[in-house]
Symmetry: C2
Subunit: 376 residues, 2 copies
């Protein structure tokens, strides 16, 4: 599909990144969102961590993530130049910590699995891990060092993407889209809270809200609730880690992503409860308990914020990036836990599609048509 | 001191209650506060609980509190009539729950102490307590029922006090006061962020910030930080208690104060860290852990808010209500954990002083001159 104008539904990290890239390549872009740069993108922890997120059976997602994290430093550099703002990238890397024997066995299995895929990770004992990150507590008995798994300050990133998009000529309109309209074969526009708007090409990048926007997306994206805490170092408290710290605590995953200002984002619970963004007592209790097991010094930190976001889950945990349904409909959604990570490859893929070119190789696995075949 | 005009420094529960009462008795009142109805009054849990707060050696505070809680229903009725708004009073009473044997022994000692003062409280075992409040968990082994200890929704109360004060002709000015000014023998005005304002009579009701306003208050009021959580029932979760629930959990006090809308206020930590209002990870962790031990159903509740307030602590835990220092200076501060409870008697006492009458009997113990004698 070649087009010179595009309506993007959703101003989260995916919508803004795609809008910026499309506008840079000469497309006239309008983005519609009732609250730009909010939702899951605003709540997110910001891990760019395909290797430590790897899961047996999800090799295509690992390849896609590895391609995108490799793309990240260049993407960040381009974004800084385009926006005149920092992009929020942190390149200190990631450590994974385990407490009990079960947790260590699970990390060992992950290391073996990654080794078989040719992605060796460094296994460390507790002392070696604490030498890297003295903030790790005595309950940490072993783990991994994965310097290639990075992180980004999601809020700094969103501000930069918004600025870059606007500098490139993107129009951002604060309005809710209720549906993508078509005439049976072609997209004709979008239905907003404020009337219908004509459009020949529409990109749905509405995260967890995508499924309700067009019948072709029905059942393909569901909300996966995640609760997160933002905490910050206080004078006299033990300094925060420099690397992203992921951990397994009695089988429960927890992470702490450092920010440049001494902040830490603790995450994340996972629950499928529909469009529920209330933070629960039990969720906060679990996050605090598990994070304190790994980083005991945070007891003295300030608790700044608790929030819940809705990750856009897909049936196979791979995103949906490509054409779907009527002519003129593109989707870039279903990124689940990986929206920040996959923003660069997703934006590149959408830009390629808009130029009428095929998507880059690892993005092919994300072709949303894979579900259309299954449905027939 | 008889006066027909008064400048009140501080628009918390004490400042607003005093301003309303003074204005009703014909005094022209101006209240100065950079952020009316905020601070400790906004953060508070709202217990009106002199008996379950009782502490050996603090009999004068107990008498003062008992006098004020007896005054509360009438005060609330008058406030509803004066403001045209609800006052937020809840009359369901209070239960105190204990978990371990040490906690039960401590409650038994409290019951014996109160009995000796002629204030018998009902001792209940775990089953009896759960019959009153099914939300209490199986770890609760015994405790007390104290129907006369009440509660108030502090935010509803503040709105009513503000409305009543304004209806009575009080002027509320959003401005910070830095000092009370005098000529060596008489009050002459207040120094604000926006210049000096003349005043012949000033009431300092600035809570934890009172000590810095005049040399006569130096060292008499200090900030005592308290962290608090606001949670709310969610569909499907176990219903909240109807009564205020206080508890000792392994020696740590915790309370849950119900609100009419299904909310619960969990509190409160206690720490002396100066003017520090950051909520800490450790404080929230303790509150959640201890409250869940007593009310396990709250795990499914929504966490709405975490906040810290600064209680105005006094050297002997009694408030300071009366004349102090130069002529024309009144103070109503140092209420520590009991600002909501003591608002009715404090406002009555200040109104009496403004009419040139002596304060009611139990308020005499709060005469701030008690510290002047000690200093000589």
């Amino acid at each position: 599909m070649m087009t010179n104008s595009l309506t993007v539904v959703g101003a989260g990290v995916i919508g803004l990144a795609c809008a910026w890239r499309a506008a840079e390549s000469g497309v006239a872009v309008t983005v519609l969102d009732p609250a730009p740069a909010s939702g899951a993108s605003w709540v997110a922890g910001g891990m760019l961590a395909p290797v430590t997120e790897a899961w047996p059976g999800e090799e295509e997602l690992l390849e896609l993530g590895v391609a995108s994290v490799a793309r990240w430093p260049g993407f960040a550099e381009e974004l800084v130049a385009a926006s005149g703002r920092p992009a929020g990238l942190r390149t200190e890397g990631t450590v994974v910590a385990a407490t009990g024997t079960g947790d260590r066995a699970e990390l060992d299995a992950l290391a073996v699995y990654l080794g078989r895929l040719g992605r060796s990770v460094e296994r460390l004992n507790g002392r070696e891990l604490r030498r890297l990150e003295p903030a790790l507590g005595p309950d940490v008995r072993g783990g991994l060092s994965v310097p290639g798994d990075l992180a980004v300050d999601n809020r700094v990133l969103l501000a930069a993407l918004r600025a870059a998009a606007q500098r490139a000529g993107v129009t951002i309109v604060e309005r809710a889209v209720r549906a993508v309209l078509d005439d049976g074969s072609r997209v004709t526009g979008v239905r907003t809270d404020d009337g219908d708007v004509q459009a020949g090409a529409v990109l749905v990048a509405a995260g967890a809200h995508s499924a309700g926007l067009h019948p072709a997306l029905d059942g393909l994206v569901r909300p996966v609730k995640g609760e997160i805490l933002r905490i910050a170092h206080r004078p006299g408290a033990f300094p925060p880690p420099r690397r992203t710290v992921r951990a397994l605590v009695d089988g429960r995953p927890v992470y702490a992503v450092p920010r440049d200002d001494g902040g830490l984002v603790l995450g994340a619970t996972q629950a499928e409860l529909g469009f529920d963004t209330e933070v629960t007592v039990g969720g906060v209790r679990d996050l605090l308990r598990d994070a304190e097991r790994i980083l005991p010094g945070i007891a003295e930190y300030a608790l700044l914020e608790s929030a819940a976001g809705l990750r856009p889950g897909s049936p196979d945990n791979l995103p949906l990036v490509g054409a779907l349904g009527p002519d003129g409909l593109l989707v870039a959604t279903g990124h689940h836990r990986n929206g920040m990570l996959l923003a660069p490859v997703t934006a590149d893929a959408v830009a390629a599609l808009l130029r009428g070119e095929p998507v880059p190789d690892p993005v092919r696995a994300a072709d949303p048509a894979r579900f259309s075949y299954a449905r027939r």
